[in-house]
C-alpha cells in the first residue's frame, strides 16, 4: 500500500458542506469579521 492511500484511510476528511462554506462569500464575510476580532484580541493580550 502506498503512502498516500494509507494516510488517506486514517485522516479526517471534510464534508461537501465544509468545503463549500470555505469559499461561500456570505459565510466568509462573517468569518472575516470574527477572525479579525479574534486576532485583535490576541494582539491586545500580547502587547
Amino acid at each position: 500500500m502506498g503512502i498516500a492511500s494509507e494516510q488517506w484511510r486514517h485522516a479526517m476528511k471534510p464534508t461537501r458542506w465544509v468545503v463549500f462554506f470555505r469559499t461561500f462569500v456570505l459565510y466568509q464575510l462573517w468569518r472575516f469579521l470574527w477572525i479579525n476580532l479574534r486576532m485583535v484580541r490576541m494582539i491586545a493580550k500580547s502587547h
Partner: protein, 485 residues
C-alpha cells in the same frame, strides 16, 4: 546625546529602530546596520515562490525610508562586538563591513551606547550536503531564492503540459530546522498553482518534515476546540494534506540532497531515498557568526553567544529534559546578562530550549524542530526592547522597563493555502501563549479559548490585507505606529 545601534533590519530590528526614532529626541542617534539594502516582507515570499508576486512587491529600498525617518543607515554586515571598548578607551563599539557596491569590504567602527542585535539567522544550507539554491534544491527564504523557485516551477509546469509526470518535494532540509509553517504554506500554494495550471494529475507532491507529526509547527502542536472536543492540530493538518492529495513524511532528518534525489532518515532509524524533479527544502538556522572581544582583544564570543551563535539573553540556559522545561525559562527583557546595554531580539536571541519535544532517530540523529521566533512575536520583542532603551536614555531607568516573554505572548498567524480572492484560502490561527504553560493550562498547555484555527477564503483576504498593511507600516508612512506588530 546617546547612540543606539541596531544590527539588522528584519521585522524585529526595523520595528525597534522605528520605535526608537519615534521615542527619542533628534539629539540622540539611531543607527541601523543591515547587509541588505532592501527590506523584505518575508511572509509573502511564499507568493513570490509560486510566481503570484514579483520580488518588487515584497521589498522596498531601506535608505530612503531611513533618510525620511531620521535614522542613520549603513549597508554593512556586523562582524565584531567590542562591548567593553578597547584598553584605555572603554566606549563600546561594533565593527561592520560594508556590503555596498561602492565600498564593498571596507571596515568601520561604530561606537554605541546601546546595542540591539537583530541580525536574524544565517541560512545554514551547509549543514546538509547539496541543500540550497547553490546545491540541488530550492528555497523561499529570500526574495531572490523565491524568484528562482518561481522560475523552476514555471519550467516544471511547462514540462508537465508536454506530458511529463513530476515529483515535487517540499519541506525541511535538516532535522533541526525551524519555520515548518513556511514549508506548509509553500506545499499548499504549490498544489493550488498546479491545479490552476491544469497539471495537478501529473504531479506527486511529498511534504518532508522534521516535525514528529504534521501540524506541530515547531510549537509542539496546538489543541483546537471543535465539535465538543479539543482536537490536536495534527488532525486538521493531515486532513488538509489528504484533501489535496499531498503525501507526508514526518520525523525526517535529511542527510543529503543529490541531483534529483534526497536521502533522509526517519525516527525509526530507516534511511531512505526519494527521487524528485523539484525540491523546495528550507535550511536550518544558526546565528550570523558575530565575534565578541574584551578590552584586551581576547575573544569572548562563547560568553556572549550560545554554541549555535545566537546571543544569550535573560533566559535560563540550564540544560534539562523536556519534562522540566518551564515557561519561566524564556527571556522577558532580551537583555544580555553580561552587558546591560546590549539586547538581542527576533531570531538573534538564543532560545533556552525548543518548544517541540526533541527526538532522536534510532541511530541517535537529533530530529527536533527549533522554536519559531518570527513574525508577530519578533515584532513585539523589537518594540519592548526599543521602549526599554528609550526609558533608559530618557528617564535613566536602570533596568529594562518593558517585557515581552513568549510565555506570556500570543501569536496570530495566517498560513496561505492558495492565492485568489474567490477561490483562495488560508489557515487563520491564533495561539496563546506561544510557549506552552502546562501548569496554567493543564493538558493542552495553551488556552483553548484563545487557541483557534480555521480554513477559508477569509484567511486569504486577511493575509492579503496584512501584506499591504505591514509594508505600509515598514515604510513608516503617516500613522505607521498605529498598526500593531
Amino acid at each position: 546625546m546617546a547612540r543606539v545601534v541596531v544590527l539588522g533590519a528584519g521585522i524585529s530590528g526595523h520595528t525597534a529602530a522605528l520605535i526608537l526614532r519615534k521615542k527619542l529626541a533628534r539629539l540622540h542617534e539611531v543607527v541601523v546596520v543591515s547587509p541588505a539594502r532592501r527590506w523584505n516582507w518575508i511572509p509573502s515570499n511564499i507568493w513570490v515562490g509560486v510566481g503570484r508576486m514579483k520580488k518588487e512587491q515584497v521589498t522596498f529600498e531601506l535608505a530612503p525610508v531611513y533618510a525620511r525617518a531620521g535614522i542613520t543607515f549603513r549597508q554593512a554586515r556586523a562582524v565584531e562586538i567590542h562591548p567593553s571598548g578597547r584598553a584605555g578607551a572603554p566606549e563600546p563599539y561594533v565593527v561592520v563591513e560594508s556590503t555596498a557596491p561602492d565600498s564593498q569590504g571596507a571596515r568601520e567602527e561604530i561606537a554605541y551606547d546601546y546595542l540591539v542585535n537583530a541580525t536574524g539567522p544565517k541560512l545554514n544550507f551547509g549543514a546538509t550536503p547539496g541543500l540550497g539554491p547553490e546545491g540541488n534544491s530550492l528555497s523561499v527564504c529570500t526574495f531572490d531564492h523565491a524568484e528562482q523557485t518561481a522560475h523552476a516551477l514555471d519550467e516544471a509546469i511547462a514540462r508537465m503540459k508536454e506530458g511529463a509526470k513530476l515529483t515535487f518535494v517540499v519541506g525541511m532540509g535538516h532535522g533541526l530546522c525551524t519555520c515548518e509553517g513556511a514549508a506548509f504554506e509553500y506545499a499548499f500554494n504549490l498544489e493550488f498553482e498546479l491545479r490552476r495550471a491544469g497539471v495537478r494529475e501529473q504531479a506527486r507532491i511529498v511534504f518532508l518534515t522534521n516535525e514528529a507529526e504534521v501540524g506541530d509547527f515547531g510549537v509542539d502542536g496546538l489543541q483546537i476546540r471543535r465539535g465538543g472536543y479539543d482536537v490536536p492540530s495534527s488532525v486538521f493538518a493531515e486532513s488538509m494534506f489528504v484533501e489535496r492529495g499531498i503525501e507526508w513524511i514526518t520525523g525526517a532528518h535529511v542527510h543529503s540532497v543529490d541531483p534529483n534525489e534526497v536521502t533522509y532518515e526517519t525516527l525509526d532509524g530507516q534511511k531512505r531515498t526519494l527521487a524528485f524533479d523539484f525540491a523546495m527544502l528550507l535550511p536550518p538556522f544558526t546565528g550570523v557568526g558575530l565575534k565578541a572581544f574584551d578590552q584586551d582583544g581576547q575573544e569572548i564570543t562563547s560568553e556572549l553567544f550560545a554554541p549555535n551563535s545566537f546571543m544569550k539573553v535573560d533566559a535560563n540556559y540550564t540544560a534539562k529534559p523536556y519534562e522540566e522545561w518551564t515557561p519561566e525559562d524564556w527571556p522577558r527583557t532580551y537583555q544580555s546578562p553580561l552587558f546591560p546595554n546590549v539586547f538581542a531580539v527576533g531570531i538573534a536571541f538564543a532560545p533556552p530550549h525548543a518548544l517541540s519535544r526533541p527526538r532522536k532517530t534510532e541511530n541517535g540523529v537529533p530530529v527536533a524542530p527549533a522554536p519559531p521566533r518570527t513574525g508577530m512575536p519578533s515584532g513585539i520583542m523589537g518594540r519592548a526592547v526599543a521602549l526599554s532603551i528609550a526609558d533608559m536614555i530618557k528617564r535613566g531607568a536602570k533596568q529594562p522597563t518593558h517585557e515581552a516573554s513568549m510565555a506570556k505572548m500570543g501569536a496570530a498567524c495566517v498560513a496561505s493555502a492558495g492565492v485568489g480572492f474567490w477561490s483562495g484560502s488560508a489557515v487563520s490561527m491564533t495561539m496563546y501563549p506561544v510557549v506552552p504553560d502546562y501548569a496554567r493550562y493543564p493538558g493542552a498547555g495553551r488556552s483553548t479559548r484563545h487557541t483557534t484555527g480555521e480554513v477559508g477564503a477569509a484567511g486569504h483576504w486577511i493575509k492579503h490585507i496584512l501584506h499591504h498593511l505591514f509594508l505600509y507600516k515598514a515604510k513608516a508612512y503617516p500613522g505607521w505606529w498605529l498598526i500593531p506588530e
